[in-house]
Amino acid sequence: MRKEPEAFLPLSQATYYILLSLREVRHGYAIMQDVEEVSKGEVTMGPGTLYGALSKLEKQKVVEKAQVQDDDRRKYYQLTELGREVLQLEYKRLKSLVENSSEIIQQMEGN
């Protein structure tokens, strides 16, 4: 049974950055680093928080295990088709939120 991508919105800030980091196949720690970098240090995640989030996203079929050769003990993740749609939808939602309100906010600041 597949949940509709809309059902996942809104995403938490952390989840949004996790999905964003999976534009490339990455293992857990690489996700932590990318999130910190892309969010310019605004979002930092402990390994327990990330592990829990990834387990949940994997169960929801938003991300999946990626097959990576040679490696060791690390688990690599990638977005599923559903995950890609969720990320796109959330981006559009946030964008329209900002666009629709920007003029109003600017006026309010001007006063």
């Binding site: 293992h27 402990g46 928080t49």
Partner: protein, 174 residues
């Protein structure tokens, strides 16, 4: 040189246990092994670690590797569900295991599910004892001892579950 200490911490007291271990480490005693309320420490006054305990079942290699990558050294575990990690106190870069309240709440909820499951198994296994209150089992010599032990266990479980629930509620209120 190794030192052993006995301490009883309930599942709902992981925070206190972490503080105690970190404090011990500050005084030069670093946890090495945990077994049934017995903590084995290694003495080294030169070092100092911060300890954290993570509740997680059915973990695989990737779990330990992620924590290791993030700067947490694996120390030991209790019943393969409470995992003890440490990092040197001087490592200011290292993030705490949980960085938001949702994930802290989730970890307490995992603990609650775990304790409820064992509690139910325990109750089922002791059905004979409880129903025995009303029949001939009473003549069994240790019967009242067993009932007493069972009562203590039940009180403990109820206490732990209520404390855990209180924890979850106070996190949600924040």
């Amino acid at each position: 040189m190794a030192k052993r200490k006995f301490r009883l911490f309930l599942g709902s007291d992981v925070g206190k246990e972490e503080e105690w271990l970190t404090e011990m480490s500050r005084n030069g005693l670093h946890l090495q092994k945990y077994q049934l309320f017995s903590y084995t420490f290694e003495e080294d006054p030169e070092k100092s670690y911060v300890y954290q305990i993570d509740f997680q079942q059915n973990v695989k290699d990737d779990y330990l590797q992620l924590y290791k990558d993030a700067g947490w050294e694996y120390v030991t575990n209790a019943i393969n569900a409470f995992h003890y990690f440490r990092t040197e106190t001087s490592n200011k870069e290292v993030r705490k295991l949980y960085s938001d309240k949702e994930s802290i709440r989730d970890s307490f909820n995992r603990m609650i599910r775990f304790y409820v499951t064992i509690f139910l198994c325990f109750l089922v296994s002791q059905l004979g004892i409880f129903t025995g209150l009303f029949n001939s089992w009473k003549s069994y010599p240790f019967y009242y001892t067993i009932v007493g032990v069972d009562a203590v266990v039940i009180v403990l479980y109820v206490y732990v579950l209520l404390s855990l629930r209180k924890r979850v509620q106070s996190i949600e209120r924040k």
